[in-house]
């Protein structure tokens, strides 16, 4: 563990802390998520560690429960989009030909329609539940991952060692997982950190449009929105969830950077 740089340690610490907080939310939170306990926008105090929100609910409790929703949806969405996007992207690049064209053009087609409008249409005809949210967000986002994965894989698939593998008669799946994946990992991991943030922001945008999680449940983006009027008058209730989103994003990406470095050095190269 000595080789872990300080930045990665910080990242791991915060990421871990946030994830633990999400898992054990009901044990940690001092009040219920929808429980009205005080006056509107009370300042931080020993009773309400982070103050109260726009209708007098304990902000700390809402942050803890909100973190749970946000982290869960974003993680599940990111995993889904990466599994689908990268596998299809590699597949298209390796197989090439009309298969590649069909997949790529289909993805172009989906992407050519603004994500938000697309989500709006889909979510207004299906009931908004958390699994539906995850699937919609994951699928929409997988198009972005697909493009990147394919772009990277196309470059790799014309490399001599892939040619060699093909000539050896290896199966497509083998080529994808043994040749392409390890070599494409670093840009993908870098992207994964960012995609995670975009997921968090996307959930909050949907909450903003009234299509996110159902009240009185919370998510961080939703808490920002609920309290945004106070920002310009120095009330910190909206800045706290924004700060949480930012620190989560930074720590996840510090971890991603570290993984990126490790994978690149694993690859050999100049070692």
């Amino acid at each position: 563990m000595k080789n872990i740089p300080l930045s990665a340690l910080v990242g791991l610490f915060f990421t871990g802390a946030y994830f633990l907080m999400a898992i054990f939310a009901p044990l940690i939170a001092p009040y219920g998520v929808g429980e009205v306990v005080g006056d509107v926008w009370e300042p931080m105090s020993s009773t309400y560690l982070l103050g109260t929100d726009n209708i007098g609910r304990d902000l700390l409790s809402r942050m803890i429960y909100g973190g749970r929703t946000t982290i869960f949806i974003a993680t599940a969405g990111t995993v889904l989009s990466f599994v689908i996007g990268s596998i299809l992207g590699f597949f298209a690049a390796v197989v090439g030909g009309w298969m590649d064209q069909v997949l790529s053009r289909f993805v172009d087609l989906i992407m050519s329609i603004p994500t938000l409008i697309f989500a709006l249409v889909v979510l207004s005809v299906t009931p908004v539940t958390i699994p539906v949210l995850i699937v919609v967000m994951g699928l929409l986002d997988s198009t972005r991952v697909y493009r990147l994965a394919r772009a990277v894989a196309v470059d790799i698939s014309v490399m001599d060692y892939v040619e060699a593998a093909r000539l050896r008669g290896e199966k497509t799946a083998w080529i994808i997982f043994r040749e392409i994946l390890p070599n494409a990992l670093s840009p993908l991991v870098a992207e994964m950190g960012l995609r995670f943030i975009f997921m968090v922001l996307f959930v909050s945008t949907l909450s903003f449009l009234g299509l996110g999680v159902q009240p009185p449940e919370a998510d961080w983006g939703g808490i920002v929105k609920e309290n945004k009027e106070g920002i310009v008058y120095g009330i910190p209730a909206a800045l706290i969830p924004a700060f949480a989103i930012a620190t989560l994003a930074i720590s996840v990406n510090l971890v991603a950077d570290w993984v990126l470095n490790r994978t690149t050095s694993l690859k050999g190269g100049r070692g």
Partner: protein
């Protein structure tokens, strides 16, 4: 001390003292801040109107789909625009009286079935034509036409016949209505040349300003109409309505001096905003109310015990406190409050009562399945938060209320007036009859609580034609009590209209009819030199 205050007020009127100086000196005399603030306002308002300048108004409710057609105006920005360019027959004054505009005088026959409006002479349209009784007739015909898309169609349904007779516009009703002038003061009913049949959206009216630039969803620029008849309006050389739908953007624009007045200040920040220099927050209690509505003909809400349980379970004070931040008053489960003429203040106020709520809930025999309350942010400002508060207080009484947030998009077509239990708002009407006719008549399209009782319909119609004020008041009182005890309306609060204006604006007066001085602040106020 009174002399000294008068002296100070005189200096304000002469424009020689700012609000801050005035407040400071008044405080030194031992006058409370509220009293001093009011004194300052009245002193500043007494100042002579100033002509010139461009009045910039930041308003919400604008969209790139807007038009200048008065018939289909339904949100703040288009209503402001048609009020800027148009003139109505009559208007309702801030005190609730009828204010003659294009009609110089109004007279009713003894049975209140025939009404005569005498048309003012020498009023000119922007295209140079003179306003005649014929134009008024054609305008009313357009709005009363069943083929029209006018929002005023329902109001004009009781009209049997109309005619133009020289300078007079005469309306005959099929049944007596003592409130007809109030109906004709509706903001849609802007007089247009030949009724606007050819091109209703061309913006030609008889109002103080004519259209200069029309960019829907962005801004609307108007310049003073040189031949406008009324000297007491239209002080600025030009008026610009800037569409600012986002609440925070609106307040920022006022604070950074890009606009002179804004509407719909969020109650949560109103007090904070008022502390900012060079501007004032203005609030006036009106007839608008925020509501949760139940369909009285749909289970489980067809059970009055359950309705009562929900009515006792809501905490009205908490809502006024937290959702309106004190900018409003508590409701009493009927659509009428003290802002209406003939209001009976002896009807008992229903209070939050957990025990009673639980008792009625038990009596209702509800099976304990979740009661779903549908809500969207757009239902009224703070609707989702209000629903969350409702859920908490209902839970305390053991009522399983569940919130379902719907998208803003499509809320008014898919949820309101469709789903059995949802959040909504009513902007109120100038008189009680209009409110009851719109929302509690069996045949009304907007009967959003599905309140269908023949006896109640008869009461509405009887009250409408009753010319004895005391009897009429008693009839309205009975109707209010019935809705209060049995109706599908849960009315936790009546909201104030909260506007904010810059120090530069003179002539602002509170008007309970609508926000922004009945949507006409831009033509009634002036910019101080």
């Amino acid at each position: 001390m009174q002399d000294q205050l008068n002296h100070l007020s005189g200096r304000v009127t002469a424009g020689k003292m700012t609000r801050r100086e005035f407040m400071g000196k008044a405080a030194a005399l031992g006058v409370s801040a509220v009293v001093a603030g009011n004194l300052y306002t009245s002193a500043a308002n007494a100042a002579e109107p100033v002509r010139g300048g461009t009045m910039k108004v930041g308003r919400g409710g604008g969209s790139s789909t807007d038009t200048l057609d008065p018939a289909i105006a339904s949100s703040e920005t288009p209503i402001t625009n048609i009020t800027t360019i148009g003139e109505r027959l009559v208007e309702v004054s801030p005190t609730g009286n009828i204010n003659p505009r294009i009609a110089e005088s109004v007279e009713a026959s003894a049975d209140a079935k025939s009404w005569t409006f005498k048309i003012r002479k020498g009023v000119e349209f922007h295209n140079g034509k003179t306003v005649t009784a014929e134009d008024v007739l054609r305008t009313m015909e357009r709005h009363a036409n069943e083929d029209s898309q006018s929002g005023a169609l329902g109001l004009l349904r009781g009209i049997e016949s109309m005619k133009a007779d020289g300078d007079n516009f005469i309306v005959n009703l099929d049944s007596a209505n003592a409130d007809l002038p109030y109906l004709l003061s509706d903001y849609h009913l802007v007089i247009q040349p030949d009724g606007g049949f050819d091109n209703p959206g061309d913006g030609v009216g008889a109002g103080a300003y004519q259209v200069e630039a029309d960019e829907p969803g962005v801004r609307h620029l108007f310049k003073k109409f040189a031949n406008y008849w009324d000297d007491s309006r239209g002080y600025a050389d030009a008026v610009e309505t800037i569409v600012l739908n986002d609440a925070t953007a609106r307040t920022a624009a006022l604070q950074s001096g890009q606009v002179h007045m804004i509407d719909r200040v969020e109650p949560k920040i109103a007090k904070l905003l008022d502390r900012a220099p060079n501007l004032h927050v203005k609030n006036v209690s009106g007839r608008g109310h925020y509501v949760f509505i139940m369909h009285t003909d749909t289970g489980p809400f067809n059970n009055n015990e359950l309705r009562l349980a929900l009515k006792y379970a809501i905490n009205r004070e908490e809502m006024v406190d937290k959702i309106l931040r004190g900018y409003g008053g508590i409701g009493n489960d009927m659509p009428i409050n003290a802002a209406y003429p003939l209001f009976d203040d002896s009807i008992p106020q229903r209070m939050h009562d957990v025990a009673k709520a639980a008792e009625h809930y038990k009596k209702s025999g509800h099976d304990g399945s979740p009661i779903i309350l549908r809500v969207a942010d757009g239902a009224f400002p703070g609707a989702v938060d209000a629903a969350a508060l409702f859920q908490q207080s209902a839970q305390a009484a053991g009522i399983p209320l569940e919130i379902k947030r719907e998208p803003n998009d499509g809320y008014w077509s898919e949820v309101w007036n469709v789903q059995p239990f949802c959040a909504s708002y009513w902007s109120g009407r100038p008189v009680q009859d209009q409110m009851y006719t719109t929302a509690y008549l069996s045949t009304s399209d907007w009967n959003d609580t599905r309140w269908k009782r023949e006896s109640f319909d008869a009461q509405i119609i009887a009250a409408r034609g009753e010319l004895d004020v005391a009897k009429r008041k008693e009839m309205y009182s009975q109707m209010g009590r019935i809705i209060h005890d049995e109706g599908g309306l849960i009315c936790p609060m009546f909201n104030d209209f909260v506007d904010a204006i810059s120090d530069k604006v003179g002539g602002y007066e509170a008007d309970p009819n609508n926000p922004m001085m009945n949507n006409g602040a831009q033509i009634k106020c002036w910019l101080k030199a």
